[in-house]
């Protein structure tokens, strides 16, 4: 296991000083996500306007991977359409499953592509995917 492939400077930065860890005014959706086994907890706040993610933020506590993943996800989805957001979430989840490895395809994930190596660390998959599953629940909850 090469730790430096996981705990990169980029991930350290996103987890230590997450730009998007705060509240937003009047979120359209507030969705909680939780990994009961390790204690990672996040609350995702989304403001949707005209089919787009107008603003997003999170609060919570957790390991570096869960927090960095959440911060990078929010960075990525701000301003994107809800449909595109769902495509990106599925792409991220496929990457973590090891189903998508093509670098060019993963470029769409921007910083979040840095978590690719988590695919080789089954013990940490839940940490990386927490935010993205929470996002899916928020969006699917809205549809339903």
């Amino acid at each position: 296991m090469i730790l430096d492939d996981i705990y990169t400077e980029l991930i350290a930065e996103h987890s230590r000083s997450p730009e998007h860890r705060h509240h937003i005014d009047n979120p359209t959706f507030t969705e909680r996500g939780h990994n009961p086994s390790c204690g990672d907890e996040i609350t995702l706040e989304l403001k949707v306007a005209d089919g787009k993610i107008a603003d997003a933020s999170f609060t919570g506590v957790g390991c570096a991977i869960s927090q960095a993943s959440t911060d990078m996800m929010i960075e990525l989805l701000k301003g994107k359409s809800v449909e595109e957001t769902q495509r990106l979430a599925n792409l991220f989840l496929s990457m973590i499953k090891g189903d998508v490895t093509d670098e060019a395809e993963l470029e769409d994930l921007e910083d979040a592509a840095a978590l690719k190596n988590i695919a080789n660390m089954p013990a940490r998959v839940k940490c990386a995917t927490l935010a993205w599953h929470t996002l899916n629940s928020a969006i699917n909850g809205r549809k339903g």
Partner: protein, 410 residues
């Protein structure tokens, strides 16, 4: 004790993890199994397997003998009055649920109090929440002193005339501190309450005498004491067990079954519905033999030596915060719980994993305790009889790398 002679009985520990010789410090979660236990399980399935209590043939009689002699051995091991007071379950969680459902639901009424300590593992907490919810009872918690011990005044003030059940762990799975179960039992009995003890973290590490403690129910798991997963124990006083309704019903726990009614079997069969884990019982029996061969004096000596060796070395690291390590009052088993400043326990565990060191990270199934202590989660290193000071050195070396990997120190 830089190395440990007992490790040779545990071939599983002769392997590498991430390219480094494994250091297994997650014994609070489950222990490894010595050769003798693995052989006992293989021996059962390889030579003695049949459904016990049923077949009128020699092989079934053999299986029954193995199962019942394991029960007698457990009874002697914890000094129960009679083997029939030993109910085999799949683990401590099932044992505690059995008490909650078969005793709790039938003896708790609206307004009664169930008293727990804030130290409880979810297995000795959630079932009582369920009982309290179902019956309109009140759940109360005994809180702690600064040093992590159960507060004596809380024992006196929380257990009242309304208290019907007091449930507590003998040893905290997070802090490793030993509770004075006898004192709590005496107080509980003075108000007519029954005492339910979770012995999961005590039975593997210290001599337990259920009669001397005067507890009413006592639960533990085999897998935390060198035995296989899937075999656990509930001890209960005969009179209490006699008066209880069965937890699960079905085969082997009956006397007569009519179309509309059933009479139940005597103890302990009344609480053992369906085919039981005889191979597990054979393994548990071999585990008790192994533990008794080494002796609790030796086990306690080893664990104490490891904690005494680890604590000053951890205190030398300015970024380590320790929990439950300043107690002057109570004994401590081989559990050291800590955090690395500014690093989440899960990241600490991953970095130690890369060094071949296995610890537990998270809330250790004790969320209310962590919330009470004002922390989200912790790292736990838990020792057992096969660990050595070399293992502690490897832990310390690994911890020294953590902050660097996280880009916190250069």
């Amino acid at each position: 004790m830089s190395s440990n002679k007992y490790i040779r009985d545990f071939p599983i520990l002769n392997q590498t993890m991430n390219g480094k010789p494994i250091v297994y410090l997650d014994n609070g979660a489950t222990t490894q199994k010595p050769d003798s236990v693995v052989r006992a399980i293989c021996g059962y399935y390889g030579g003695c397997n049949a459904n016990p209590h049923r077949g009128a043939y020699e092989l079934s009689v053999k299986a029954t003998d193995i199962y019942e002699s394991a029960r007698a051995k457990v009874a002697k091991f914890i000094n129960a009055e009679k083997p029939m007071e030993i109910i085999f379950t799949k683990n401590a969680t099932e044992s505690l649920n059995l008490v909650a459902y078969s005793y709790g639901l039938n003896n708790i009424n609206v307004g009664d109090e169930i008293v727990l300590t804030i130290l409880e593992h979810h297995s000795n907490l959630v079932p009582w929440q369920q009982v309290a919810k179902a019956k309109g009872a009140i759940l109360k918690y005994i809180y702690l002193d600064q040093d992590g011990n159960v507060n004596d005044e809380e024992i006196d003030s929380k257990i009242t005339e309304q208290t019907k059940i007091v449930a507590l762990t003998q040893v905290s799975n997070v802090l490793g501190l030993v509770n004075d179960v006898k004192k709590v039992a005496d107080k509980a009995h003075s108000v007519g309450a029954v005492v339910v003890v979770d012995g999961s973290q005590s039975v593997p590490h210290m001599k337990v005498d259920v009669k001397a403690l005067n507890v009413d129910f006592f639960a533990f798991s085999g897998h935390k004491m060198l035995a296989p997963m899937g075999i656990g124990v509930l001890y209960g006083k005969e009179k209490l067990l006699e008066d209880m309704t069965p937890f699960l019903t079905g085969g082997d726990m009956i006397e007569y079954v009519e179309e509309q009614t059933t009479t139940f079997a005597e103890l302990p069969s009344k609480f053992e519905a369906g085919t039981q884990n005889v191979g597990g019982a054979a393994g548990l029996s071999a585990a008790i033999d192994y533990i008794e061969k080494i002796g609790f004096d030796e086990i306690e000596r080893i664990e104490r030596e490891l904690v005494d060796y680890a604590l000053p070395r951890l205190r030398e690291l300015p970024y380590i915060e320790l929990y439950g390590c300043n107690s002057k009052k109570s004994n401590k088993t081989g559990i050291v719980t800590f955090n690395v400043k500014d690093v989440h326990p899960h990241d600490v565990a991953t970095i130690l994993d890369a060094e071949g060191v296995a610890i537990r990270a998270g809330h250790h199934c004790a969320q209310p305790l962590h919330r009470y202590l004002g922390i989200n989660s912790t790292c736990r290193a838990s020792f057992y009889l096969y660990n050595s000071t070399d293992d502690v050195d490897r832990l310390i070396e690994g911890l020294k790398k953590v902050r660097k990997v996280m880009h916190l120190d250069s």
